[in-house]
Symmetry: C2
């Protein structure tokens, strides 16, 4: 078995920058491109681990900020880390908490060491900076820790974006020096908003630290106009080293994922499959739809014809619509089971298309079905 | 295979009136004593059918009133009945809707044909009587339909209880004459509140109709003092024919079930395992407890030591407490999985104790662990 942190590129698409790879973690291999389901509070919402295992899910994302608030690090430490706490045997990536500190909390005060803020749950005054974040991620024992960064919302001024990059870089240097859990990898994060020079500077200085096992593209899909998203991804990926995994944070629309893979991205996470499931939105190969719509009342078809997930094997749209309509938990369970299966199926079909030199077709089809509406 | 409606008594306890039996329905056998999980809105709350199948669950209860409101009978009829709608392959018993009409709704008006009331969901004016209830249960296609009865709350005057029995009897006669789904059995219901003469009269007149495949004891555990519950059960069972199944409606406390089995009851239903699961209350062989209690924060033990349910095989009390604490659906799923397993385990141990002539010990142990607190 290759050493922890090894990233094998097993195939490169001759027609795009897409590649197939395998990242070795302390909890086994992660085949890329990969979609990481989000388990914010030590569970993927509404799902049991055996339901993710059935999808051959190799890696989950956990949220440092939320887990630090509840259950708290004394609990996680007592249980010997997040894997044991939630009984997840494959890999876990934890974010740094930076995004939540800057988006969820109130009354923030910045210092060069980090951020004072009030907990979103009970208003408790708390502090988090690079040392605290890495300390928490060490206790969580994730396989991949992320550096503590500042992710400014869009729009923001070039001056503010520049300050955020400077803070992100100085914090990244601190993160690189913190003690880690055994076998824990650490990824750097490129910020810089919609400003190419800032992103370039951030990427180069992160690389110069020579300390990271992979690189993430942060601050994408945080409110900027849609037409700026893909150019930002392309530009950032191009500065990152070929031989390390690249992770586009928080992006999970299907066409954005296939276009980003074409740009050379390897890893994704997103709350969409479970969040939209709670609203009754269903992903299929032919697009999304709402199973709550009145038109599905008598529909005997499964959520997606030909789908092999547990929801589609046994239940009709009419039944699942009824369950959601009367707020039965099983309704959300079934749409989440299906959506998660659809996401894994999407990634698996994307990988196959790369391997079989059909990725161009796959991208075109994904853009046709899931792409943004053409500008008028 | 014996004919539908056959009730085989396979063993009788020489020391009590307990018996082991098997009731044959259009969807297979039901071994008694049996606990029927409640699937009010076409699902047992938070559970998937495969999780009940794993417990060898042979029969569910469905609620006529709720299913008639949502999804509505046009939907159920379109899907070919409740079994197909919710993909449940074993037996289903439906209640008559009487209990809900009298307990959930407002602005009721009684006529000799039934009750006008307002839907608890949107206030729609609706009517239900014996003909309507049996018509709905025919569309639901349940294996066992219950007659439409009036279940008065306790306390109620002897005059009101008497009127309710008279209505229940006249409605039972109407129910007996209604068309049924193929292979559908119909059970009569003995009412009479806390008045022995009324219960006796009700039972005798129901029997005189000669129309029913089984008999239920209604109006128990509806607010009467605890010490009146078991005498009422004993007295009613003693009037009912030995050769037909006896169903004690809505009773699901463990000591009440074991004492009622000793009195000759065969069937039970109750929302307790799933309802208490939502509040974090866990059933074990050694009693109930709340997994939400702060003392479980660092507890590495499963919900119940030695338990083989999916929750206990993988998760700690500390983890499940955290999930409930942060309102994650998985928390409720796990406590419901465990409680349902505990109920099936309880019934299975009770059956074994009868078969092995240890039922006296089993009753004593159940009363010791789960019985009412002794009077002071």
């Amino acid at each position: 078995m290759p050493g922890i942190g090894t990233f094998e590129i097993t195939y490169e698409d001759p027609h795009s920058k897409a590649r197939l790879g395998r990242l070795w973690t302390a909890h086994g291999p992660v085949d890329t491109p990969v979609f990481m389901p989000v388990g914010t509070q030590a569970t993927v919402k509404s799902m049991a681990p055996w339901e993710l295992e059935a999808e051959d899910c190799q890696i989950l994302l956990g949220n440092t900020y939320h887990l630090n608030v509840r259950p708290g690090m004394d609990v996680i430490e007592h249980f010997g880390g997040l894997h044991r706490f939630q009984d997840w045997k494959s890999a876990i990536l934890t974010d740094s908490g930076g995004y939540q500190v800057f988006s969820l909390t109130k009354l923030r005060q910045m210092t060069s060491e980090g951020v004072w803020f009030q907990s979103h749950v009970d208003g408790t005054r708390m502090f988090m900076g690079p040392k605290e974040s890495m300390g928490i991620q060490r206790i969580l024992g994730s396989d991949i820790a992320m550096v503590f960064d500042e992710c400014p919302p869009c729009p923001c001024t070039p001056e503010y974006a520049c300050q955020a990059v400077e803070r992100t870089l100085s914090w990244a240097a601190v993160c690189a020096e913190q003690p880690r859990a055994q076998g824990q990898l650490v990824f750097g994060i490129v910020q810089g908003g919609v400003y190419p020079q800032l992103r370039e500077r951030c990427a180069k200085e992160l690389l110069a630290l020579g300390a990271f096992d992979g690189y993430a593209i942060g601050g994408v899909s945080v409110g900027e106009p849609e037409e700026l998203i893909m150019p930002g991804v392309h530009m950032t990926v191009d500065i990152l080293p070929r031989e390390r995994p690249r992770y586009l944070m928080g992006v999970g629309q299907w066409w954005q994922m296939s276009e980003s893979v074409a740009a050379g991205v390897d890893m994704f996470d997103c709350v969409m499959p479970t969040r939209l499931a709670r609203h009754g939105t269903v992903f299929t190969r032919n697009g999304k739809y709402s199973v709550r719509a009145a038109g599905n009342r008598l529909d005997e078809r499964p959520l997606e014809e030909g789908c092999s997930c547990m929801a589609c094997r046994r239940f009709s749209r009419g039944y699942i619509r009824h369950l959601l309509n009367v707020s039965e938990i099983l309704g959300v369970r079934l749409t989440a089971l299906h959506n998660m299966h659809a996401y894994f199926d999407f990634i698996s079909r994307m990988r196959a298309s790369i391997r079989e030199d059909r990725f161009g077709e796959f991208r075109a089809e994904t853009a046709r079905v899931y792409g943004p509406a053409p500008a008028e």
